[in-house]
Amino acid sequence: MSVLAIRDLAIRLPRGADRAYAVDGISFDLAAGEILCVVGESGSGKSMAANAIMGLLPDLVRVERGTATFEGRDLLALPERAKQAIRGDRIAMIFQEPMTALNPLMRIGEQIAEVFEAHGKLSPRERRERAVALAAEVGLPDPAAIVHSYPFQLSGGQRQRAMIAMALALEPSILIADEPTTALDVTTQAQILDLIRNLQHRHGMAVMFITHDFGVVAEIATRVIVMRHGEIVEEGERETVLNAPQHDYTKRLLAAVPSDVVPTAGAVRDTPMLEVQHLRKTYTTGGGLFAKPRVTHAVDDVSFAIAKGEVLGLVGESGSGKSTVGRCLVRLVEPDGGSVTIDGEEITSLDAAGLRRARRRAQMVFQDPYASLNPRTKIARAIAQGPIAAGTPRREAMADARRLLETVGLDASAADRYPHEFSGGQRQRIGIARALAMRPELIIADEAVSALDVSIQAQVLELLRDLKDRFGLSILFITHDLRVAAQLCDRIAVMQKGRLVEIGKVADVFLNPQDDYTKRLLAAVPGATWTGALESA
C-alpha cells in the first residue's frame, strides 16, 4: 500500500545553474512500512526531491510540475498553512548535521516538547513527560536528566538521537532522513542505523532514506532508487539492485565502492622514510581563575615508521588525533614531545629556515578540496608558488606546473583558470599536483578522498596508487574509512583517543584484528555482510 505517490515531479533550478532541472520528471511510490533508500552522488537531485515533498525548497528553486499524493491530497499544491500542519505531524524529517539542525540555545527536552506545542497538542506537563519518554525510546542515556542539557553537551550520535526523537514525537506516517549518518563515526552510524530500523519496525512508518553510501543501503534498505542528474536510473528491491544491477551507472557506482577484498600488499622495504617516536601533543583549553583547565591528550605517545615507497593508513574516528599526528609531522602543529625524523633528519628541533627546507620533502594533501585552494589564485600559480619560493626560476616552475596537471589527469589548459571552475574531484587532483610540485618523498594525505563521491574517490585512489609507483613515494594516508584505507595501504595503524592501538599489514588487521577497538570498528562498517556475500558469489 502506497502512502506517498510521486508522479512526474520536476523541480526547476534558477538560471545559471549547471542544469535546468534539479529533478526531471521522476515518479515513485513510498509504501507503508518500507525503508526506501534514494541513492545518488552529490548533485543527483536526491535531497531536492525530499525538500520539495516537505515544502522546504530554497528560494529561486521551484516545483514546475508533478504531484505528491499523501493521504488523498497533493502536497505540492497545498497552501503554506496546510503544509505547516503536515510537516512534523504527518511527515517528519531528520537532517545530516544535527548540530546545525538543533537550536543551540534551547534544552533538548524543550525542543522535543516544542513539536507538540507547534501543533497545539497536549498540556505543557504532558509535553514534558512525553519528551522524557521519547528520549528514552531513542536510547538517550539517563533520559530524565539529558532533556535538560543543551545540544553542545551531547555527542554527535546523541544529537542525532535527539533529532530523531523530535521527528517521532507526533508519530508521523512518513520519516524522511536526509543523509542522517554521514557526519557520524562508523560505530555511531551503525547504532543510529539500528535505531532507525527498530523504530521503523515498531511504529510501522514508511522511511525515505537519502544516502550516497551503498554500504548504508545494504544495511537498511527494503527498496532502492538510484538517481543520477535528476532522473531515476534504476529502481528495485535491495537484493536485486545490489547484486544484479541493470543500469550501467549503478554497476559503475557499485564497482567503485571500496570492497573488503584486500589487495596484496607490496613488499615492504626496510629503509625508513619517516620515523615517529613517542610523539605527544596535549591541548589545554579553558581554565581561568576559578575553572579547571580541560586537558586533551590529542596525541599520546605515538610511535611508528614508514618505509620508502610504503603506504601507511592511519585510521581512526573523529577526535582520535589522527589529523593532529599528520600535522605534527610537518609542524603545522607544534608537537609537545617526541621525535620525528624524515629520512634521518630530525624535524622537531629545526629552526625556521631548516624547517622550510625539510618541508619540501614532506607535502600534504588536504581534506576539503574547496578550502585547500586559494579562490583568488590561478591554478598554475598555486602549484608553482612553492618551487618559486624555493628558488626555481619562474618560467621553469610554471612549465612544470602544466606538466604536473597532465600527470594528475587534468588538461594543461587548466593552469590559467581559477579554482571555482573545477569540481571537487578535479580540485583534489590539483591539490595533489601542488604537493608533487615540491618533488616530495613523503606525502601526508589527510582525509584526501573523504569529501568525494565514490566514483571520484575511486579515481583519486587510483591516481595516488599510480603516483606512488611512478615516483616511489611514501604516503601517510589518514582516513576514517577502513575500506578506503584497505584499497591503498600496505599497512594500517588504528588510533583511538590519541593512542595507537594496533598496527600491522592490511590483511592481518582486517582478517585477524587483535585489539577490541579494531574489532568493533570493523564490525560497524556498514554493509559488511553484503560485500561478504558478493565475494563468495
Partner: protein, 294 residues
C-alpha cells in the same frame, strides 16, 4: 601588460560583468552611484561653473533663492553666492572623505593584519594600542588634534584618519584570523612561502570584500566628521566647506533658512549615496549574505 595579453579570454570579463550585475540588482545602490557621480561632477566642474572664489561678495546679503537672476540659491550673511559655496564645498568634502579613508586604511590594514596573523604577544600589543584609541570618543579626539595642529586641510584629514582606523584594524584582524586557519594557507606554509608573502598574496586578497564595503561607509563618516569640525569653526579658514556654511549661518536660521538648508541637504544626500553604494557593494561582494531576492 601581461594582464592585457590574457584579456581576450571570456572568463577575464566574466567576473567584472558578474559583479556589475549583482551590484546593479540593488536599485538603491544604482541611485547612490548616480548621486555620487553627480557630486563628483560638480566638484570637478566647480571652477568652471563658478570661476570666482566662493568667498567673494557678489550681491546684497540675505538674498532668498531665485530672488535675483544668476543666484539660484541666494546669498549668505556677507553676500556670497551660496551655489558657488556648495560646488566648491563638494570638492573639500570628497577630498577629505577619500584621503582620510585611504590614510586610515593605510594604518588599520597593516596593524590588523599583523595582529591577526601573528597572534600571541604581537596581537596583544597591537590590540591594546588600538583599544587606547577606541577608549577616547573619536570626535573629541579629532577636535583636540585639529585644535593642537591648527585647522588646515592637512590637519583635518590627519585627525579624521587617526580617529577612524581602529574599526578597520579590528575588522582586518578578525578576517585574517579566520582565513589563516584555512587549508590553502597551511599548504602555502608547507610550500615554504614566507610569512609576508602568505599574508599579502594569499590572505589579504581574500579579505578585500569586507574592507571595501567598510571603506565606502568610512568615506561617508569622514565627510560627516569634517562637516562637524567646520561647523564648530575648526575648518580650514581658507576653504569653503559645507560644514562651515551651516556653522556660519546657524544664528540666522529663522530669518534665512536657505543658508543652512542647502548645505545640509548636500551633506545628507552625499552621505546617503555613499551608504547606498556601501550596501550595494556588500550585496555584490558577499552574494551569499545578500538579502534573499524575491
Amino acid at each position: 601588460m601581461s594582464l592585457a595579453a590574457d584579456a581576450p579570454r571570456s572568463a577575464a570579463r566574466g567576473p567584472v560583468l558578474d559583479f556589475w550585475f549583482r551590484f546593479a540588482r540593488n536599485r538603491g545602490a544604482l541611485l547612490g552611484l548616480l548621486i555620487l557621480l553627480a557630486v563628483i561632477a560638480v566638484a570637478i566642474l566647480a571652477t568652471v561653473m563658478f570661476p570666482q572664489s566662493p568667498w567673494k561678495m557678489v550681491q546684497r546679503p540675505f538674498l532668498a533663492p531665485f530672488q535675483v537672476e544668476g543666484l539660484p540659491l541666494g546669498t549668505d550673511t556677507l553676500g556670497r553666492d551660496v551655489a558657488s559655496g556648495l560646488a566648491h564645498g563638494a570638492r573639500v568634502s570628497l577630498i577629505v572623505g577619500l584621503v582620510s579613508t585611504l590614510f586610515s586604511l593605510a594604518i588599520g590594514v597593516p596593524l590588523g593584519a599583523a595582529a591577526g596573523y601573528f597572534g600571541g604577544i604581537v596581537d596583544d600589543a597591537l590590540m591594546r594600542f588600538t583599544e587606547f584609541f577606541q577608549t577616547i570618543p573619536p570626535f573629541a579626539l579629532a577636535i583636540v588634534l585639529v585644535a593642537i595642529f591648527q585647522p588646515s586641510l592637512t590637519s583635518i584629514v590627519a585627525a579624521i584618519a587617526v580617529v577612524s582606523w581602529p574599526p578597520v584594524a579590528r575588522l582586518v584582524r578578525a578576517e585574517v584570523m579566520s582565513l589563516k586557519r584555512r587549508e590553502f594557507v597551511e599548504a602555502s606554509r608547507l610550500a615554504g612561502l614566507s610569512n609576508a608573502h602568505i599574508l599579502v598574496r594569499q590572505i589579504l586578497p581574500n579579505a578585500m570584500s569586507p574592507i571595501i564595503v567598510m571603506a565606502s561607509l568610512m568615506v561617508a563618516t569622514a565627510i560627516l566628521l569634517e562637516s562637524s569640525l567646520s561647523f564648530l569653526g575648526l575648518g580650514d579658514p581658507n576653504i569653503m566647506s559645507w560644514g562651515y556654511m551651516i556653522g556660519a549661518s546657524r544664528t540666522v536660521i529663522r530669518t534665512a533658512w536657505w543658508l543652512s538648508f542647502f548645505p545640509g541637504v548636500a551633506i545628507l544626500v552625499t552621505v546617503l549615496a555613499l551608504n547606498l553604494i556601501g550596501e550595494g557593494l556588500n550585496d555584490a561582494l558577499n552574494p551569499r549574505l545578500a538579502r534573499k531576492g524575491r
